[in-house]
């Protein structure tokens, strides 16, 4: 019995550290609607700075002072980031801020190694909490008890802050309806800045408090960020109590789950999230999102098919691309094939995100399923390459049909997180089912048939498929189906009123996007000759998101350009410099600031400005007027 009590308390201690970080993320999202990917980076910087301070100033005062000062210092960095970067992009399309914070995260990962060196750092133990307390023969670290107490204390302070202060009232009001708060004359700028500072402070404090139990290293951010997102979503976005309950739930399930299934940790949080979201679409304590007020950006600049001149230009670009094998060597061609494949992947997500308004955080699942489909068919059934390429993507199609059915019942960030959960479940199956998938050692030897083996032939194949896929999806965008899909994106109520079955349309779009991604994955398997669980992983999903956002969400061809720019730059930087993450992250941040509508979006805006001599269009874009639903 004592064991179960101790295990429960241990779970509570894990929950407390998770809660600190999650509560910050939840507050930030609730008010600013920013999906703050850099939250893990702030957590990590908090730990690094606290390490430096606690090493320099010893004693109880040095330790606890160091922890608090570190958190404050990082909060200051957060304020700087908010004022310099995020303020410029609040009015950018939804999720664009994700791109900016993603760029920051990349930069921080390289910066901490530059500043603090490559070694793992192990900090001091907390003065006064070094030992353990005996509980009927079981030891509980006293630091765990401290954390267990700290969780509810922080929860209480936050509750008081939100319920008993004017600032808290404003924050709650902004969480519910930030346009109304702005209309009432509250200075949003400082409200957002202060909220961001509080959120970052909590993240950094969470990081600093890990020093006595963890090692400080440069991958801490990625280790926590996804988990924290999941906790926030399970609890319900913007709900602090929800975050607390979710953190406890996840930690306790893990603490007891490993007693029965020692391998459960790898997937547990995602399983819990999938179940919670299917049963309660807005998390445990979340409320249905109020119908968002759309900015009129889309109506100001409606989509149109390409003019005949533009068609000719695209055709010319394709022809030029097709003559590449005459000029460049094998390596460039292989990179070209890879870029073409990522164009397929990006346009498939772009179709879902831009046309359907459904941002998937787990799109790599269908890419990877396509790749595994090919690998199974080629290695186990021994089918020829053409057949594999045709049938392989069906696995992606099937996956999208099953998961899409559940996912489209949700919307917004909840949709995104459910797709992430499904992707992680698929990933963990590929990872764990060693006898079939080979586990993380993957499936090797999936090389193309001799007719496609030469780099130029494979390049033409990839380029041809990419062109076909892009054209097909463009036709779909301007087909009645595409218009119906856009209708569900712009207004669910109105589209249903005119008789569109929104869920079915969205589901169909999901399956189309999943199958298309599967086509990309199928080609990828042959390009690399092997398939790994990586091909379904989070980082690939994030790559796809970044490509779409970089190109421009509110455009028709953003996916293509975003994929070409991001992939080419990424491959080139990794090959040329050791600090590829720093440079790439800096580049992304720069793009975010200079091109807040993405590369293609910005080009279109410039072209439009030139066409119109009168400026109202641009001023409208710069300061969107909120229109009531």
């Amino acid at each position: 019995m004592a064991f179960y009590v101790v295990q429960f308390l241990t779970g509570l201690a894990s929950a407390a550290s998770l809660f600190l970080v999650a509560s910050g993320l939840s507050i930030i999202f609730g008010v600013t609607r920013i999906v703050n990917f850099a939250h893990g980076a702030f957590y990590m910087i908090g730990a690094y700075i606290a390490f430096t301070l606690t090493e320099r100033f010893s004693g109880a005062f040095g330790f606890w002072g160091g922890v608090v000062v570190a958190a404050l210092a990082v909060a200051l960095i957060g304020v700087l980031v908010e004022m310099v970067l995020l303020r410029r992009i609040y009015h950018a399309p939804e999720l664009f801020q994700l791109l900016g914070t993603f760029g920051l995260t990349l930069m921080v990962e390289d910066l901490v190694v530059l500043i603090w060196g490559p070694d793992d750092l192990v900090g001091r133990r907390a003065p006064g909490f070094k030992g353990a307390v005996d509980f009927f023969g079981q030891n509980i670290p006293s630091y765990d008890l401290f954390l267990i107490a700290l969780g509810p204390v922080v929860l209480g302070i936050l509750w008081l802050l939100f319920q008993r202060t004017r600032w808290g009232v404003l924050v709650r009001a902004a969480t519910q309806d930030r346009d109304m708060v702005a209309a009432l004359g509250v200075n949003q700028k400082w409200l957002f800045t202060s909220v961001f500072a509080v959120g970052v402070f909590l993240a950094a404090l969470g990081g600093a408090l890990q020093i006595p139990r963890d090692a400080v290293h440069h991958a801490m951010d990625l280790r926590i960020i996804v988990e924290v997102f999941v906790v926030v979503v399970i609890g319900g976005l913007g709900s602090i109590v929800g975050a607390f309950v979710a953190a406890v739930l996840v930690s306790e399930l893990n603490a007891f789950g490993i007693l029965i299934f020692p391998k459960i940790s790898i997937i547990l949080v995602f399983l819990v999230m999938a179940v919670v979201l299917i049963v309660r679409p807005w998390g445990l304590f979340g409320k249905p999102e109020a119908a968002a007020r759309k900015t009129p950006g889309l109506t100001v600049n409606p989509w149109r098919p390409l003019t005949s001149n533009e068609r000719l230009a695209s055709l010319a670009a394709l022809v030029i691309a097709a003559t590449l094998p005459l000029f460049v060597g094998n390596y460039a061609l292989t990179v070209g094939s890879e870029i073409a494949i990522f164009v397929i992947f990006a346009v498939s997500l772009h179709f879902l995100m831009s046309v359907g308004g459904l941002a998937s955080f787990g799109h790599a699942a269908y890419f990877g399923l396509g790749a595994y489909g090919v690998a199974f068919l080629a290695k186990m059934a021994g089918l020829p390459m053409i057949v594999c390429l045709l049938l392989g993507p069906l696995l992606g199609c099937m996956g999208a049909a099953i998961f899409g059915f559940f996912a489209v019942q949700l919307s917004g960030v909840y949709f995104a997180m459910l797709t992430l959960a499904f992707a992680q479940i698929v990933w963990s199956i590929a990872f764990q089912w060693v006898s079939v998938t080979g586990g993380d050692n993957g499936i090797l030897g999936v090389w193309p048939a001799s007719w496609a083996a030469s780099p130029s032939h494979f390049y033409w194949l990839a380029l041809g498929v990419a062109a076909l896929v892009t054209i097909a999806l463009r036709i779909a965008v301007f087909s009645p189906f595409g218009y119906a899909l856009r209708a569900t994106r712009d207004s669910v109520l109105r589209s249903e009123a005119v008789g569109i079955n929104a869920k079915r349309i969205q589901w169909t779009a999901f399956v189309i996007a999943g199958t298309t991604a599967g086509i990309g994955g199928a080609l990828f398997a042959y390009l690399k000759g092997s398939v790994f669980p990586d091909n379904l992983g989070i980082s690939l999903s994030v790559d796809a998101l970044v490509m779409v956002l970089l190109g421009g969400v509110e455009t028709v061809s953003g996916g293509v350009i975003g994929a070409i720019v991001y992939k080419a730059l990424n491959i080139w930087l990794v090959s040329q410099t050791d600090l590829s993450k720093l440079v790439l992250g800096g580049f992304i941040v720069l793009i975010v600031v200079v091109f807040p509508k993405g590369i293609v979006g910005m080009l279109e805006m410039l072209a439009q400005r030139r066409r119109k001599s009168s400026p109202p269009g641009s001023s409208l874009l710069a300061k969107p007027i909120e229109s009531a639903e």
């Binding site: 064991f3 101790v6 991958a219 007693l259 060693v434 993450k581």
Partner: protein, 400 residues
């Protein structure tokens, strides 16, 4: 920095040859790939190691009079990116052979690439047995002692322990899984009386150490096998120390004696764990002394195991190239099979039968000295003594 080194190397080549671009064509280029951005704590010393080797080789006149140039790429910890890098090195840089890699899946991906493109590949670090056995191919050689060899070295010491109830803690991926599987198999062969009472599989890099430690303690084992390393190991050791998990229990642990993983533990270093590792401070052989002196003179830092791996990888590559007298792949394979060469750990041989080198490892016990973790009672285990019989290897490895 890599690009810069390459350019510096190229500039030196120009100066030395005293002529234009044609001199560069005379150089021998080796391609090197590793997870520099993902695993800097291993790869930074590793890079220093191979840079020292390149310097020494060129100072001694290069390879059969030709200057050696290493072109190095980062794989970011992703097999697909490693293949892009391998492709660039082979197609664009025209390297004579590929070397490097750390993670097992990346080692396998590059090995499969080498097999497909008929390129010589000298794997430096990936430990999975598959590289030389179940997925071995004629183009791939490996330097470091494999999972099997390290497990066999540890079993030799572990089987002498009186403990009968064993628990295992290992990261939940191929490396952890195969390390535990081999250890269990070899242990149970030597000691049929052993019981395996618990196993924990925390996700790599994400251990929730408290509950794991508690769960293992609950099973009340007499001895524990640990395979976690890096930050996971730190968390496990700290929780284990506080909760008294290691008190009165024997612990056998993979890799923990390597400075990369032992040094961060400082005054938390547990006493008396049986580990594999690299006690650079207590190795007193002329070969190692020479290496240590050169390394410390160049970097003003002590070597980690990564330094040895990087150093010996390039030394081995150079030895193979020198013996082959050519950059022709088949000639290099013929030269590499059965080649013997000196190393800081003594002479090693690349076996003809499975392309595994006989580089060994040190097995010893952990201890604390002046608040720092060290390995004591360490002895070098020759790799050749811990490999299965040739007949067994024949069965494990597909025919070329």
């Amino acid at each position: 920095m890599r690009a810069r080194n390459y350019f510096v190397g190229a500039a030196f080549a120009l100066l030395a040859a005293g002529m234009g671009h044609s001199a560069l064509a005379q150089d021998i280029k080796i391609g090197e790939i590793n997870s520099y951005s993902l695993l800097p704590s291993f790869t930074e010393p590793y890079r220093k190691g191979w840079q020292l080797a390149v310097e020494e080789i060129n100072a001694a006149g290069g390879i059969n009079g030709k200057k050696l140039v290493v072109v190095s790429k980062d794989d970011g910890g992703k097999p697909a990116d490693a293949q892009t890098a391998a492709n660039e090195l082979v197609s664009s840089e025209g390297v004579a052979m590929l070397t490097g890699t750390f993670l097992s899946n990346i080692g396998l991906a590059v090995s499969d690439f080498a097999n497909q493109k008929k390129v010589f590949f000298l794997a430096a670090e990936p430990l999975t047995d598959a590289v030389t056995w179940s997925k071995g191919n004629k183009y791939t050689f490996r330097l470091r002692p494999s999972n099997y060899m390290q497990a066999a070295m540890l079993v030799e010491a572990a089987s002498k322990l009186p403990a009968k109830r064993w628990a295992t803690i290992a990261p939940n991926y191929e490396y952890g899984q195969s390390a535990v599987a081999v250890f269990k198999k070899l242990m149970s062969e030597k000691r049929p009386d052993i019981q395996w009472v618990d196993e924990q599989w925390p996700p790599q890099g994400k251990i929730d150490a408290g509950p794991v430690v508690q769960a293992v303690a609950q099973a009340n084992p007499e001895a524990i096998l640990n395979v976690t390393f890096g930050p996971d190991l730190v968390k496990l050791v700290r929780e284990g120390n506080t909760r008294g998990l290691f008190k009165g229990r024997e612990v056998v642990s993979f890799l923990t004696g390597e400075p990369e993983y032992l040094d961060p533990l400082k005054d938390e270093t547990p006493e008396g764990w049986i580990v594999t590792g690299y006690p650079w401070y207590s190795i007193k052989t002329p070969e190692h002394d020479a290496f240590l002196k050169a390394y410390q003179a160049k970097y003003n830092d002590y070597p980690r195991l990564g330094s040895i791996v990087g150093y010996q990888t390039i030394k081995a590559a150079a030895a193979i190239l020198a013996k082959a007298g050519s950059t022709d792949t088949d000639k290099m394979i013929a030269a590499a099979e059965g080649i013997s060469m000196p190393s800081p750990f003594g002479e090693i041989t690349f076996r003809k039968i499975d392309h595994q080198s006989t580089l060994g490892a040190f097995v010893g016990k952990t201890a604390q000295k002046d608040g720092k973790g060290v390995m004591v009672d360490a002895s070098y285990k020759k790799g050749a003594d811990y490999l299965p019989s040739d007949a067994e290897v024949e069965k494990l490895r597909p025919k070329d």
